[in-house]
């Protein structure tokens, strides 16, 4: 099994990394924030050269943002989600552009939508939002309905 081999290899080289295989073809690797870049280097050297997506989940109650790097290996046919958590207050992380060129765009979006600053990314300029003045809108404290009410005067209908 590709996934089990990979799980063993990651566990051997990075003991601080928690690895699970939720279903065939998927692997979830969770590391503390200072281990994520090493994990991505390790995976890329292992054939994971396609970065599908960089995602972020706002765990509001725990005061943390979870960064999820989605990598795919065409040779192994495995999709890895490499995850780490960073604090919610003025979040910063290192850019992964040296590893994956198009990380630039994903980081640019996460900067806009979650307010994460990526050190080393020189293009953290607005992308999808137009003259946006409010807080980063994908964070959980941004209330969509309240914003619409305050900005456009839309009243909630009964029921």
């Amino acid at each position: 099994m590709n996934e089990e081999d990979l799980k063993q290899r990651i566990a051997d080289r990075m003991p601080q990394c928690g690895v699970t295989v939720p279903k065939p073809g998927r692997l979830i690797a969770t590391v503390p924030r200072d281990g994520l870049l090493s994990l991505l280097h390790l995976l890329k050297a292992d054939g994971f050269e396609h970065l599908s997506l960089i995602s972020c989940v706002d765990w509001f109650d725990e005061g943390e943002l979870e960064l999820v790097y989605h990598l795919w290996s065409q040779e192994k046919k495995v999709h890895v989600m490499a995850k780490t958590r960073i604090g919610r207050n003025s979040p910063r992380f290192l850019s992964t552009i040296p590893l994956f060129r198009h990380a630039q765009t994903y980081e640019r979006e996460l900067h806009e939508m979650f307010g994460i600053a990526f050190d080393g990314n020189t293009r953290q300029v607005p992308m999808l939002l137009d003259h946006w003045q409010g807080p980063p809108p994908m964070r959980k404290e941004f209330d969509l309905r309240q914003y619409a009410k305050d900005t456009f005067g839309v009243e909630e209908r009964a029921g």
Binding site: K23, S55, V57, T105
Partner: protein
């Protein structure tokens, strides 16, 4: 009278001009802008300017129940809506542990391939138009209407179908659907040689596009490119083969590739894919098993999905489309992130390929990448 004096300073070395391309342009699906810096007829720099179609779907979905989200997701891509429905359904099925009946898998395959054909035909219209082949556009848009007729018969809707939902599909095939589909397939098969002699075998098309905007295999992978753009660079990468979903594992089809990675190769790969899609639909109609087309889902008003996370992906008309969904056990998704194939291509790759291009090539380079703006903006 004294002679006029020549100016003391020479003209500036460069005469760069900033030019706005879009956001309303015949070549782009939806609204999408490119800010070009040109010097004479040559593009010096290009900067993609997305966001005109940002509707905040991912945030909206956190406010809606699992069933309320179902009619929302198809609107992620106007051209090719069904893959988004299928992705959403697959993500919810994975988290909720729903089994999908075999018949529904076959119906999904048919619908997904019809959607791919309809998207590719519309692409041919735009691409042909940009290269001055208006007739091709008239034909392909006309033929696309026959495919939309099939969607109307099956789902009631022509553009948006809201048909593939968690647990299967919304209803079974209506009587006479298979026969009508075969008629449309026969017609499209008879038209493909016509498209070829008009456009794809035409020397003017080859002269305009061969060797233009070349993207090699390694660079394409390094920039997150998938789908027909990657296959045009010689890499036979296709999610339908690599991680079969719906009924693709049971069907026989090829993954067309081209070696050069230029505008010409990308166009030819799309043309060859239509042929494969026609064959897939025929096989699916032949092999479709009897049985139910959906499985019973919980009461949509009380449906709480167990906590967990999943990433599902399929091959849309443009490449790898994926859904990353996180549930915290409530009746609404906690987080949804859509991976669109147009996203890396429409921004960094387009900017890279337009650098140094001729102004008259900008339109067809943009089109050859088959970018859909609503997918980028979400």
């Amino acid at each position: 009278m004294s002679q006029p004096q020549a100016p003391a300073t020479a003209a500036p070395a460069t005469r760069e001009l900033e030019m706005y391309f879009g956001p309303q342009h015949v070549g782009m699906v939806g609204n999408f802008g490119i800010v070009l810096t040109v010097e004479g007829d040559t593009v010096v720099r290009a900067r993609s300017n997305p966001g005109y179609l940002h509707r905040g779907f991912e945030k909206l979905m956190e406010y809606r129940t699992y069933m309320q989200n179902f009619p929302l997701v198809c609107r992620l891509n106007v051209m090719d809506p069904d893959p988004n429905e299928a992705l959403y359904a697959m993500a919810v099925e994975d988290l909720a542990g729903l089994e999908v009946p075999e018949r529904a898998h076959y119906i999904r395959t048919i619908v997904l391939e019809l959607s791919r054909i309809s998207s590719h035909l519309m692409w041919m219209w735009a691409y042909g138009n940009l290269l001055g082949f208006d007739t091709l556009g008239q034909w392909t848009m006309g033929d696309r209407d026959y495919v939309l007729d099939l969607f109307e018969m099956l789902t009631g809707g022509r553009v948006y179908h809201t048909y593939i939902w968690p647990g299967g599909v919304r209803r079974d095939l209506p009587p006479g659907f298979a026969e009508k589909t075969l008629q449309v397939l026969d017609h499209l098969e008879s038209m493909l040689p016509e498209y070829d002699s008009l456009f794809f075998n035409n020397r003017i098309f080859a002269d305009r596009t061969k060797g233009v905007a070349t993207l090699g295999r390694d660079e394409a992978v390094a920039m997150g490119v998938t789908g027909s753009n990657l296959r045009a660079a010689g890499a036979p990468v296709d999610t339908r083969k690599d991680e079969p979903y719906a009924a693709y594992g049971a069907l026989d089809f090829d993954v067309p590739t081209m070696p050069d990675g230029d505008s010409y190769s990308r166009a030819v790969v799309i043309r060859l894919e239509v042929e494969q899609s026609l064959s897939i639909i025929r096989q699916a109609l032949e092999g479709i098993p009897a049985g139910p087309a959906w499985t019973k889902t919980p009461n949509p008003f009380k449906w709480e999905v167990p906590p967990g996370e999943t990433y599902v992906k399929i091959e849309s008309a443009r490449g790898e489309a994926g859904f990353y969904m996180v549930s915290n056990g409530s009746d609404k998704p906690y987080r949804v992130h859509f991976r669109s194939p147009s996203y890396p291509v429409g921004i960094l790759v387009l900017e890279r390929l337009l650098r140094g291009a001729s102004l008259s090539d900008v339109g067809h380079i943009m089109l050859s990448l088959n970018v859909a703006a609503p997918e980028i903006d979400r």
